[in-house]
Amino acid sequence: MTTPDISIESDRLPQRKSVLQHIGSLARKQPLGFAGGLVVLAMVFMAVFAPWLAPFDPEQANFADMLVPPGSTSEMGEGFFLLGTDQFGRDLFSRIIYGARTALLVGFTAAIIGSCAGLALGVASAYFGGYFDLILQRIIDVFMAFPLIIMALAIVAIFGTGTEKVIMAITIPFIPRCARVVRSSALAVREMPYVDAARSIGYSSARIIFRHIAPNVVAPFLIMLTAFLGEAILLEASLSYLGLGVQEPTPAWGLMLQGGAEEYAESAIWVPIFPGLAITIAVFGFNLFGDAVRDALDPRLRSQ
């Protein structure tokens, strides 16, 4: 008697996919999101490795090479200007690489602080309810009545310019926006039996908020966070373009655009065009990435 072979194809454990297979699968399922992710990765790479990637000091003026077109070599024989130079003879390629640092510093800091503060406020508002919720939501209504850029401009007008102030100006309008979205999800979670259970065994409000409600509203939180990243980069560029953001000689894309667009749009078109392209690609990339994150976290879209 022989023992029948009981191994059945369908019972086998699925083979584990390699990282590359995962990436390939993601690229097929979410080609736009994948492209956005690549842009984000490229920006992070540029920001982290800027000192090694940039051929020149981004702040060093080099008057012998003022407004040199792309693909030229330095008058002093000191190097090659891939994207040309600006009116101070600074290498645009180096400034764009370092500009990614400014964009990500402002973008990530404002988005993370703004959405985390919004998460805490939104969950607390839903959890406590009553007058606390009522008053907080009316305050949020006031903040949300102003368009993002107007609110940021007002904050910069009050506190002044500079990187830290720009981060603050972008962070503050993000808080109520995130709080409003998170609150709506937290209101449903608040009614869950495990929250009642936690309350009945005497857990503190802070513990319930941060350990039991907040983790369950992480999906809308992450969606807001990724959406804020692109918005923050665009806002930083807008404020710098208006002369209210970071200041010269700091490399920042909006500032580079402002310095070049008015005076050199015709005679040295590379001065505004490359920072403009950098802003466009970065914001587009972050938006695609944010959409992909939303799709991945939304159960309805995921099932499709």
Partner: protein, 546 residues
């Protein structure tokens, strides 16, 4: 001195003959009629010339008013050529050992509301300017410190009695901000009425001001300079952004801008429109000054301030910044080329920061910082949110200071908070400030560097500097004036390094070639009555059609 002044006047006039064709037509060719459209890069803070200092007021409002005397509109480059406006004949010579000036006033001049002008109006105006009552501002009160009293013995005579003879009296009286107001308006309507109302005797009558948009004026039919103005009227368009002003001229929506464009804008306009654009250029009685706050450590230490000045390569800056900004000339505290001002050779040998051996200067700067214990100094440069030339010069300065190892950030504020920081909050370390004057009058112009000037934001005291200036102001001897001027300059730029000079501005005015008769001056405040300007209508039609 007189001959040196004459030579200077001739040389600036020649310099301004970079003018291509402007004002060179015979008198008979001047055409009557038409409307000038000028574009101004600033809104109007108020209409009152006595309290304002901005071209944003002068360019649209000056044509409504007259002056007692003025810089010759046919020779505005000269710092010594003054002619009567409301007075008659020649500008008077002083009597009583230089202490009395008697002006004869024109008859039959009327204000826009019909009041007749008399010497009482001139007296009331200069009383307000020189001796304003408490609570009433007069921005140029310090310029009239030599005036003891003003008298109007009859309706056609005004007498100025001076405390001491002064070479700065006539240039001060000729300043374009000294609008002549009606005594009746001042008495009946108050000293602040002119801030929001216009009633002058100038070549044009006020029509309207639409906030943020434009000011319009129409020809004064009773104007006292015969045959003038040539224009029927003008519109002053307000456009704070330079690109808008540039495109307005390029697209034919405006004819001229009087403040000045950077070199690149001039080149773009010339390239696009060729001979439809005329360009006039001139040195400009305007300079950006680095102003360390002596109340903020370590800028109370003269060695630190001297190091900052030593590290600036002004000669290279002049060569390169003049390609991208409205700055050009290397100079000391006085208008470059004026006989009393220091020559480039003198500055190079005697004043710190002017040597052409920049490497040696920077080594010295580093040594001074080391000696002061601030080798790796980190500070913030406070700057005004105006691109040309503030932000360009600010960025250049930061680059210069980086070359001696300093870490400098820039803090930019719009004009109103910028001045609030300088004047009231005083919470800056080093700031850029400007010294822009109308009539070239170096002895008066350098009062900005005095601790007591009220417009010096370095916040320091120095009795020696005050004493040199007092002596300079009171001396009539030209050789002594030159000697004291040099002493004053050395005290400011070397010993104290209380403030220091960047580069003098350079005025570039591209405009439509059908605009005729305007001549550039070494100041954007001067020669703005528009009465000499006329429009070549055939050329205008050719360029713009219609």
């Amino acid at each position: 001195m007189k001959s040196r002044l004459t030579r200077f006047a001739a040389s600036v006039a020649l310099g301004s003959a970079l003018v291509v064709g402007a004002g060179s037509m015979p008198a008979s060719a001047q055409e009557q009629g038409g409307e000038l459209r000028l574009v101004v890069g600033s809104d109007i803070p108020s209409y009152d010339g006595h309290i304002e200092s901005t071209f944003g007021m002068i360019h649209p409002i000056r044509p409504f008013y007259s002056l007692l005397i003025r810089v010759n509109p046919d020779n505005p480059s000269s710092p010594t050529d003054f002619v009567c406006d409301l007075c008659v004949g020649e500008v008077p010579k002083p009597t009583n050992d230089g202490k009395t000036y008697t002006f004869k006033i024109r008859k039959g001049v009327t204000f826009q509301d019909g009041q007749e002008l008399t010497s009482a109006d001139i007296k009331a105006t200069f009383d307000k300017l020189a001796f304003p009552p408490d609570g009433i501002a007069s921005n140029r009160k310090a310029y009239f410190a030599m005036i003891d009293s003003v008298e109007a013995p009859d309706p056609e005579t005004v007498v100025f009695n001076l405390k001491f003879p002064s070479g700065t009296f006539i240039p001060s009286i000729a300043m374009p901000f000294n609008f002549i107001y009606s005594k009746n308006d001042l008495d009946e309507r108050g000293y602040t009425w002119h801030q929001t109302n216009v009633n002058g005797t100038g070549p044009f009558h006020f029509v309207e001001h639409v906030q943020g948009s434009h000011v319009t004026g129409k020809k004064n039919p009773n104007y006292y300079h015969e045959g003038k103005p040539y224009l029927d009227g003008y519109t002053s368009l307000i456009a704070p952004k330079m690109s808008v002003r540039l495109q307005a001229i390029r697209g034919g929506q405006a004819d001229i801008e009087f403040r000045g464009f950077p070199p690149k804008a001039r080149d773009d306009l010339k390239e696009a429109l060729g001979d439809q654009i005329e360009v006039q250029e001139s040195d400009w009685n305007c300079v950006l000054i680095v102003t360390p706050n002596h109340e903020a450590k370590p800028f109370d230490d003269p060695r630190v301030r001297q190091a900052l000045s030593l590290s600036i390569d002004r000669h290279q800056g002049s060569e390169y910044l003049s390609k991208i900004a409205i700055v050009k000339t290397v100079g000391g505290i006085g208008f470059p080329g004026h006989p009393i001002s220091s020559s480039p050779e003198y500055l190079e040998k005697n004043i710190i920061g002017y040597s052409k051996d920049i490497e040696a200067s920077r080594e010295k700067a580093k040594a001074l910082l080391k000696e002061a214990g601030h080798e790796n100094l980190k500070f913030t440069l406070h700057n005004r949110g105006v691109d040309q030339p503030y932000k360009v010069v600010g960025t250049w300065l930061i680059d210069q200071w980086r070359r001696i190892g300093l870490d400098v950030e820039q803090w930019v504020q719009p004009s109103t908070p910028f001045y609030a920081t300088l004047r009231t909050q005083k919470n800056f370390e080093v700031s850029l400030d400007f010294n822009c004057q109308a009539v070239v009058n170096p002895i008066a112009d350098i009062s900005k560097f005095l601790p007591s000037s009220g417009a010096n934001y370095s916040y320091f005291e120095d009795a020696e500097l005050e004493s040199i200036y007092a002596e300079l102001l009171a001396t009539g001897d030209e050789g002594k004036q030159r000697e004291l001027f040099a002493q004053f300059e050395k005290r400011v730029l070397n010993d104290l390094a209380s403030q220091f000079i960047t580069l003098w501005w350079y005025k570039i005015n591209p405009y439509r070639s059908y605009v005729k008769g305007w001549k550039i001056a070494p100041s954007h405040y001067l020669n703005q009555s528009l009465e000499n300007i006329w429009i070549d209508s055939a050329e205008r039609k050719k360029q713009l059609g219609g």
